[in-house]
């Protein structure tokens, strides 16, 4: 049900863009206005989110650990799985973000004859997730060639490394293949594993379909339905220099692609995709476990009513007397 709904939605989005450009000829709308609006929404939404998160303090220290804490000098501590310094936290976070450390550690349980529980390394989600995210990042970075002039050398470098392989004479971006495969895997996993399927909402399928459609439209443009790249560059440069113009003759696929990107951007801050910003703030991961080394001053302390000894004695005077303990007041 969720799948159908999301699929229909993405198809509808594609159709909107197609009809909007081909039938209604709203090229300026789809080529300029919507992208601007989307980016604005994206930035504003994200900033709002992050500011909201970042401005709330975390008075309770609630990290989870993945290894031995730093304590006595001769007990070997896990510097990064249980960091006690800012540096350690940065490394931990980097591991988390760059190689999905937690997911990597994950095991899958299976009941085998015996009955015996066996733990298997749950590698496929980790691998697919990693490949998907990295491909996305690389594709995104490669796209900077549309938005910069001259194109920075690192973009060129990424492009040439990514496009090393060739199919026929055509350069083939590995990341294009990888992202399609990885997203498809993530989708199939979501559908095939009953436990995952059942927790999935339309809002879980939608980003997958959206990204898949985005990648497919991109791949179409590059390998099958050629669009006028110089015209695209003219358009994109116009966008970034706030001097928008819509050149003639870019194919409809491009507008579909661009519209999908716009939807993704606009959708981003209000959906689970904000995890991009959120992971960094997660107090289960970004707090050093240094309670023995450092003391924290928190500014919002409020007074606490303490049960004083007087009150205590008041309550237990009789018993204390019975037990022969000295009491202050008779």
């Amino acid at each position: 049900m969720g799948i159908g709904l999301s699929l229909i939605l993405v198809i509808a989005l594609v159709s909107v863009a197609y009809l909007g450009v081909e039938v209604a000829d709203l090229r300026f709308l789809f080529g300029v206005i919507i992208p601007y609006a989307a980016v604005a929404t994206f930035l504003a939404g994200l900033v709002y989110r992050v500011v909201k998160w970042a401005s709330t303090p975390v008075p309770f220290r609630i990290p989870v650990t993945g290894g031995q804490q730093k304590s006595l000098p001769w007990i070997k501590a896990s510097k990064f799985d249980n960091p006690s310094s800012t540096f350690g936290v940065v490394v931990r976070m980097a591991l988390e973000v760059l190689v999905f450390r937690s997911l990597f550690r994950n095991t899958k349980m299976e009941l085998r004859d015996g009955p015996k529980l066996a733990y298997y390394w749950e590698k496929w989600l980790w691998l697919a997730g990693l490949l998907f995210h990295w491909s996305f990042l690389i594709i995104f970075t490669r796209h900077l060639r549309f938005f910069t002039d001259p194109v920075p050398s690192f973009v060129k470098l990424i492009e040439s490394a990514d496009g090393f392989f060739r199919i026929g004479v055509q350069g083939l971006y590995i990341t294009d293949v990888v992202i399609l495969v990885a997203v498809t895997y993530l989708f199939i996993r979501r559908v095939v594993i009953p436990q995952v399927r059942y927790i999935s909402l339309p809002s879980d399928y939608f980003p997958l379909f959206l990204i898949l459609a985005l990648a497919i439209s991109g791949v179409l443009m590059r390998y099958f339905v050629r669009v006028d790249i110089t015209a695209v560059k003219e358009l994109t440069m116009g966008l970034v220099t706030f001097n928008p113009r819509v050149p003639e003759g870019i194919g409809a696929v491009f507008y579909i692609h661009l519209f999908l990107v716009s939807v993704l951007f606009a959708y981003f801050p209000f959906s689970k995709l904000v995890h991009m910003a959120g992971v960094f703030l997660s107090p289960t991961r970004n707090l050093p476990n240094d309670s023995r080394e450092r003391r924290h001053i928190n500014p919002w302390n409020y007074p606490v009513k303490v049960h004083t000894y007087e009150e205590y004695e008041e309550e237990f005077r009789e018993q204390m007397k019975l037990a022969g303990l000295p009491v202050e007041k008779e």
């Binding site: 709904l5 998160w53 709330t56 303090p57 975390v58 008075p59 309770f60 220290r61 609630i62 990290p63 989870v64 650990t65 993945g66 290894g67 031995q68 804490q69 007990i75 501590a77 896990s78 988390e96 999905f100 937690s102 550690r105 994950n106 095991t107 899958k108 529980l117 733990y119 749950e122 989600l125 997730g129 436990q195 995952v196 059942y198 927790i199 909402l201 339309p202 809002s203 959906s271 689970k272 995709l273 995890h275 997660s282 107090p283 289960t284 476990n289 023995r292 003391r295 924290h296 001053i297 928190n298 606490v304 009513k305 303490v306 049960h307 205590y312 018993q319 204390m320 019975l322 303990l325």
Partner: protein, 537 residues
């Protein structure tokens, strides 16, 4: 009744008797592979059903949650819940946890990693309602429906498709007490989300807003502690009486004459036990005393209010209570002028005092707190204690208390000690930071009303029981060989006590439980009779 594996979060509001019923639980290894070996599941009594919420899975965790008698009461209840829910999303009223709450609330990727990690879910035979994100989803759905624009506009697309009435909320409240808050799921979540935190936030709404919390935690827990100084109700006179008794016992058992220091000003270490130890396992404080004296440490106990009980149930369900207790505990240490507080065998006290409260108590009040484990390992390693491992020559396995490993990261000392003093030590799988909760975490161990213990023994402790049996697979069937589960935590010990009794494991298979210090004392060269009781025959 819907099949357990087809239940969906939106079903939580489904009218009807009972949402789900425990079915085929995770299988246990030999000798419990025969279902007849374990006691059967029971039905809740009708009187409970009438009065409480038994409509989730037939168990009652919150004994103070009672069915409203009138429509108006019900509306009142729902309103209170919603206002509580709103408050946890407000910066003003939930500043302590709003940030992690939002982060955990907003962008779960639904990757299913956490479900693989949760022992309750796995042990229940994968009953959907016990899945870590099930209750989070319910909470999300309710919150989305009532408080977010996206939920109002997009409705089902983002999952805002749940109706709120007494049954829904009560079930959700109950569901919050089907989680041990062990945070194994949080540890494994690739996005750092903390489903345990969400469960705890639900508990918080119930407790802080509606005054509903299990009696053992609240009325007879934190309230009692704030009143008498200890959750057990031990008062100062009682404590002194007990210590005297313990001193006698030590002399009787070991021939050592030890004067346990109390309220010694300016000592290096203030040792704080879980007061339950005095009541139920006095050999534990005794063992501490023996070891610390043997090693010549400068230490003391306190008889001040709050100075002799390190527990802090507040951290399971109520921020204010937690803070109050912690502040008083630290004040005792300050007044005594000790250098550091050392926490005895109590897992959650470790976490509460050493980690959670770190940002709560500030400046000079922030007395250093330490686990006893590195200290003990230091004593063993530097040979300050004369130990003879052959005295412990029976199979021993280690249960890591979640709070000590996962929340704090004290991992190596306990196993190093065991390796040094137990020739037949073997690990459970998994262990260390990846351990499973004993099933008694977050108050389960002491929630003894109605049929809740059955849930604990059958479901939440099941994984641990399985691990124990697995660890002893080689000798389990031989009742001639005693086997020892070392659980250096009062809470875990309480759970083990019930668990082993429930399954008759001690009686039938000679499996025992106990702390780490007892085992260490048992290995002391100069004690003639075994210190552990089951070795005494």
């Amino acid at each position: 009744m819907v099949k357990n594996r087809d239940l969906k979060p939106q079903d939580i509001g489904r009218p009807g008797e009972q949402l789900t019923k425990l079915g085929k639980l995770m299988e246990l290894p030999a000798p419990y592979d025969d279902p007849d070996m374990e006691p059967p599941l029971t039905e809740p009594k009708d009187s409970w059903k009438e009065k409480h919420c038994a409509s989730l899975d037939g168990y009652i965790g919150i004994d103070t949650l009672t069915r409203p008698q009138t429509k108006k009461e019900e509306e009142e209840f729902v309103k209170k819940f919603l206002s509580g829910l709103e408050k946890i999303f407000s910066d003003e009223t939930n500043r302590n946890f709003i940030q992690p709450l939002l982060l955990s609330f907003e962008y779960c990727a639904k990757c299913n990693t956490c479900s693989e990690a949760c022992h309750v879910y796995q042990a229940s035979g994968k009953n959907e309602i016990y899945r870590p994100i099930f209750r989070s989803e319910v909470l999300r759905k309710i919150a989305k429906k009532y408080f977010t624009k996206s939920g109002k506009i997009l409705g089902r697309f983002v999952g805002a498709d749940i109706n709120v009435n007494w049954e829904t909320i009560a079930r959700l409240g109950e569901l919050a007490y089907r989680c041990n808050l062990c945070r194994r799921c949080a540890q494994t979540c690739p996005l750092g989300l903390d489903n345990a935190l969400l469960a705890r936030e639900i508990r918080k709404i119930f407790s802080q807003e509606m005054g509903i919390a299990p009696k053992p935690l609240h009325e007879k827990g934190t309230m009692l502690q704030l009143k008498t100084g200890s959750t057990t109700g031990i008062t100062k006179p009682a404590l002194l009486d007990m210590i005297e008794f313990i001193e006698e016992e030590i002399e009787e058992k070991t021939g050592k004459k030890i004067k346990i220091p109390i309220d010694k000003k300016g000592a290096d270490i203030l040792l704080v036990h879980n007061a339950g130890e005095f009541m139920s396992w006095p050999e534990n404080p005794a063992a501490f005393a023996i070891l610390f004296e043997e090693a010549g440490l400068d230490w003391t106990l306190s008889s001040e209010m709050m100075g002799y009980d390190n527990v802090n149930y507040g951290i399971w369900y109520d921020d204010l209570q937690a803070k109050k207790i912690a502040l008083q505990q630290f004040k005792v240490a300050k007044d005594l002028g000790v250098n550091r507080i050392v926490i005895g065998e109590c897992g959650h006290a470790h976490k509460a005092a050493a980690v959670s409260m770190d940002r709560i108590v500030t400046g000079e009040d922030n007395i250093p707190r330490e686990s006893f484990l590195p200290i003990l390992w230091d004593l063993v390693k530097t040979k300050k204690l004369k130990l003879d491992p052959s005295k412990n020559n029976f199979p021993v396995t280690l249960h890591d208390p979640c709070n000590v490993v996962r929340m704090m990261g004290v991992v190596q000392p306990q196993r190093n000690i065991l390796k040094a003093i137990c020739p037949q030590f073997r690990e459970m799988t998994p262990h260390g930071v990846h351990n499973y909760c004993c099933g008694g975490g977050s108050g389960f161990a002491i929630m003894n009303y109605m049929n809740f213990p059955e849930f604990r023994n059958k479901v939440s402790s099941r994984m641990k029981f399985k691990q124990i049996l697995d660890a002893f697979q080689d000798t389990v069937k031989d009742p001639g060989i005693p086997k020892y589960v070392c659980a250096p935590c009062s809470n875990c010990k309480g759970t083990m006590r019930d668990l082993l009794e429930y399954y008759g494991a001690t009686e039938k298979f000679n499996i025992h439980y106990g702390g780490l210090v007892e085992l260490t004392v048992n290995a002391l060269v100069d004690i003639k009779n075994p210190f552990l009781e089951f070795l005494q025959e």
